[in-house]
Each structure stands twice: as C-alpha cells, then as structure tokens.
Symmetry: C2
Subunit: 296 residues, 2 copies
DNA sequence: AGTTTCTATCTGAAAAAGAGATACTTTAAT
DNA sequence: ATTAAAGTATCTCTTTTTCAGATAGAAACT
C-alpha cells in the first residue's frame, strides 16, 4: 500500500524533473526523496524513472502510475476540503422538499448554484405532491420546503411567503374547449377534469377546484400535463408547471368568465425550528426568498 | 494531510463498530487504532465518533468523511491494481487503428469486452480513412490495425486475414436508380458518384471503382451515407457501414448486371513486429481473428 | 454484583523517516 | 580536455513516529 509521502515525492519528482528539486519543493533532503521513490518502486515492483541520464525521466509505466497517483492526491484533497467545510459548520447533508408544482427552472438554477457554493453538502430532494410539504417538515423528514400557501400550518416550523403562483385552467389546443373564446362553469363541467391528488389521502381540501362531475386524479402534475397534451380533458394547473407547453402551443389557457383573481396562490418556504441552521441552509433560505416567481 | 494508516484505522473502526475489533482486523493493537483515529480527529478538527457509549458510533460529520475515506482507499486500490497489471507485463497503453469502413457493431462489442478485461490499459483509437492503416502501423503511430486487404504491404509489420467484406453500390430509395430492376455501367455513369477518399492523398488506387465522370469525394464513409440518405448520388460502400440504413429501408442495394464477385474484399488485422506484444495486444489480436464478419 | 468488553493513556521498545556527508556520474561551459 | 555545476545513490547517525503491552476506568451484559 503506497504511502502518502511516497506519492508526494513521486509526484514532485515527476513534475520538477529531478529528485533534488523535488526535495527543495517539499522542504526535505534530496536523500529523502530518493529513498521515498525507491521504496515506492520496490513496493510496486515497477520502475518509475529511467535513471540512465542525469535527470530521471518517467518510464511509460511511471507515466501510467503517475495518473493514478494524481487521482489519489485529488481524493485526499477532497477529504481535507470536506473536513474544512465541516469545521466551518456546514451541514453534511440537507433535505429539501419541493412541491412538484414548484419544481421550476429558477429553482433548478438555484440548485445548480447551490452545488457550486457547497460542493460538500449532500442534498436530498423530495418532490412530494400537493400539501405534503408541511407534514415532511413537521416530522423532521425534510429540513426545508417549498410549498403552496396553506390555510393552517402544523406547529413546529417557520415559514415565509416568497411569491405567488397563478392557477389557470388549461387544455390541449385540439380539445373542444379550446375553440371557445370564453368558458364558464357549465362549459367546464361537460368535460373530464384532471386533478392533482395529494399523496396524503386524508387531505381533501381544494374542493373548490373540483368543477366537473367527471374527474380523474393523478399524483403528479406532470403526469396530468402529459395527459392534457394527449388531448385528454382539462385541468387547473400552475402556470409554472406547464410553461413550456404553453409557449410551444401544445396547451392553451382557457379564458374564464368567472372569478378572475381567486386562483392566485401564495408560495411559502418553510423550515424546521428545532434544528439549528448551518451556512448551507441559511444560504438556501436567503436565495429562495430572493427568487422571482414568474406569476408572482 | 491524512495518513493512509489513519484512514484504514478509521474505516476499520467504522465498519467493525469498535476500536478493539478494528485492531484485531488490522492485526494491530487496540491502542494503535485508538491513536490513529484520535490523530485523524485532531488533524481534521472533526469529531469522527461519538464516544458517549461503550461502542463508538459515527457522528454525522464522521459519516460524511467516511465516504471520502472510502474514495481515497478506492483510488489507492486502483493504484496498486494498475501497478500489478504493469508487473504482469500489460501495456500501459495501446493504439488501435480501425479503418472507418470496419468500425462496426461486433468490433465495438469486442472493445467493450476489452475494457472489462484490461481496465488499466489506456486505449487510443484511430479511425483513419481507406488505406491509411498500413502507414500508421509502419510509422509506429498505431500498434495494431484493422483494414481492408492491400495488394502490397510496406515492410515492418505482420498481418493476417480474418474475414471478408462485400462492397455494394447503394443509393437512396428515392433516387432515380432505385426504380431500375438492374443497373449497368452506363446507368451508373449518368449519376453522381460519391467516393471515400483516403487522407493519404498520394494514394490513388481503386481507380477501378470510379465509374461516373461526376464524382464527389468525402473522407468518411459515414458522411457519404448521410449524403446518400438525403438522395444525393450513389456510392460503392461496404455493407457493414450502411447495414442500419439498408435494414430500415432508407438506402437500397443496386442489382448489377456486371462483375458479381469482384467486390468481395478481404479484411486483415495487422500489427507491428518491432514492439513486443503484451497480454492486451495478444488478447486483441486473438479476438479480432475470431470475429465473424457479416459478409465474410 | 460480577464478568466481559470496551476505551484512553502511559511507557518503553522498535521501526521508520530524514538530514548530512560522501563518492560518483552526467551535463554544460570554458 | 578540463572544470564547474547539478544530480543521484548510499552510508551513518539522529530524530521522529509508530506501536505493542500494561493499566485504569467506563459501559453493557448476565
């Protein structure tokens, strides 16, 4: 098993082209480098350098092993960097629950930035259905969550409003409803309605959104979007979820003759209060709060 | 900078759940493990284990660092494995030139097997045009090559026939030639011919293949296949290159009224004789020889 | 309560690492 | 051709590190 010092000597010698120079760089005697390299050669059984000339030059085998040596030193650096990040109080892992409706490009972009800023923090992402985030926070399963505004929150965590999202009725461009310039309740009632259903079965709020007697339920709003694109029924979805389909024309927004503003729903970020927040959680909270939501 | 022994002690302790057991596993005294872990904790500044109970249990930070420790040991293993493979005489790298006409699924499959058999051998793949492989072998640029049979080889390397490939005239299903039940020379001469051109410009053999006065040249036969699919001209190509397009019907084979068999061309594998072959080269040579070519 | 199994810590011995000196070789310059 | 500079291998001796063994105390199990 190669020793760390031997590897360092090997690398320094290969890079500087001489054992003496390597010794100077490592602040060690030349003999130390010479011994280290020789021991490495003995242990591996591979001739690393060609010593026929004054300056030792890497053999082909040495060149191959040098790459592996670099790989080892890189993982060593990762180790020490991770240790340093832990010393700075950074969380080793963080669980973030983002309601499926809200898993949208700016959030994804924020996560990319997060990865760059905290490369050593492991992030677990949950994408629960509607209204499941509060329970995940309360139970401690998630450390932070992004969710649509609730009427009443369970005890045990903080939350903060950060924007708004608009719920709009949409259907395929080929759907019969698409040909109407305006739709009212009875128009909608004549066609199948697709409804995002919470995993949490006891949760049966949002009755106000159920208009049609012919309903289907789906766990994920993205599944619903797929069905809509296939021309199946209509649904009241958040703009952000179907933004792409709306811009490319696959889906269209239905113009309503009723309740113009009631569908504007707040977006909250919530976090547990029991567990102390580290730098990563603070960063996330701060940047989530600064996000601009497209319909907000 | 963490020491290899310290990391081993850390890992063994984490896995076995006790410093004493780790000591037994590593054939060291318990005190050695205890010291190693403690020193690692001091150097990193991170508490790795919770010692409040009898058996030390990993802290959250310890768990995070354990993963990095595993990564280090894995790269150490890679180092020693590569050293072992070099001791067995395996080449550290190998250059294989495969003429573009012959870069076909069974060869790709063979390379996949090669990668599994010799994970530490770096493979450089060249995909030269027609008739360029012998020069690559002669000059030492490539160690081994797969090529179409040549009339006369330069000195300095061995070769062995391993199969045959059929050259067929093809065109798009929408091309005027496609409507003819049989084609003769004068039919072909009326349309543009696409010809694979060697990188090696002085090489101007295969005049026998040039039939039409209206020719275009392309370096890669795959580029030619693309042009053919777009309905541009016809070409005499190896079946293996356009097999996919032939089966899905995009391209069709033209039935000729002349020289039925002259287009059957041998496939050779060649290798340099100056450089001693290692196990990897031997393996490749043996398995290339065993390949079944679809038109062979 | 007694026994077992564990950890931390101390001590001394053994091993390893490393500095310094020396002899010899190669490269470059005079 | 000779000299000077820079490099390597190897030897010796010192310093440092590593480690086993012993011991005391804590935690779990019977």
């Amino acid at each position: 098993m190669p020793n760390t010092d031997q590897l360092n000597a090997f690398i320094a010698a290969a890079e500087s082209g001489s054992f003496s120079a390597a010794g100077r760089r490592l602040k060690k005697a030349q003999s130390a480098v010479s011994n280290a390299v020789m021991n490495l050669e003995i242990e591996t059984g591979v001739d690393l350098f060609d010593r026929s000339t004054r300056k030792p030059i890497l053999t082909a085998a040495g060149e191959a092993l040098l790459k592996s040596a670099y790989a080892i030193m890189e993982s060593h650096n990762d180790f020490t960097n991770r240790a340093r990040s832990l010393n700075l109080g950074e969380e080793s892992n963080l669980c973030l629950a983002i309601e499926q409706n809200l898993f949208i490009p700016p959030v994804v972009h924020l996560l990319v930035q997060f990865e760059r800023t905290f490369p050593h923090v492991e992030l677990e992402l949950l994408d629960p259905g509607e209204n499941d985030v509060p329970e995940l926070l309360r139970s401690g399963r998630a450390d932070m969550g992004l969710m649509l505004e609730q009427e009443n929150y369970p005890q045990g965590f903080h939350f903060r409003g950060i924007g708004h999202s608009r719920r709009v009725p949409v259907c395929s461009k080929d759907h019969p409803l698409a040909s109407l310039s305006q739709v009212n309740h009875s128009d909608l009632r004549r066609y199948r309605q697709l409804i995002p259903k919470s995993l949490n079965l006891e949760e049966t709020r949002h009755h106000e959104h159920i208009l049609s007697p012919r309903v289907w339920y789906a766990e994920s709003p993205f599944v619903i979007a797929e069905l809509l694109c296939a021309g199946l029924g209509w649904a009241s979805l958040h703009e952000s979820v179907v933004q792409e389909e709306l811009t490319n024309g696959e889906l269209i927004v239905l113009k309503r003759t009723y309740q113009q503003d009631a569908s504007l729903q707040g977006i909250d970020v919530g976090w547990t209060e029991q567990q102390a927040q580290g730098p990563a959680a603070k960063w996330l909270l701060q940047h989530l709060s600064g996000l601009k939501f497209n319909s907000g």
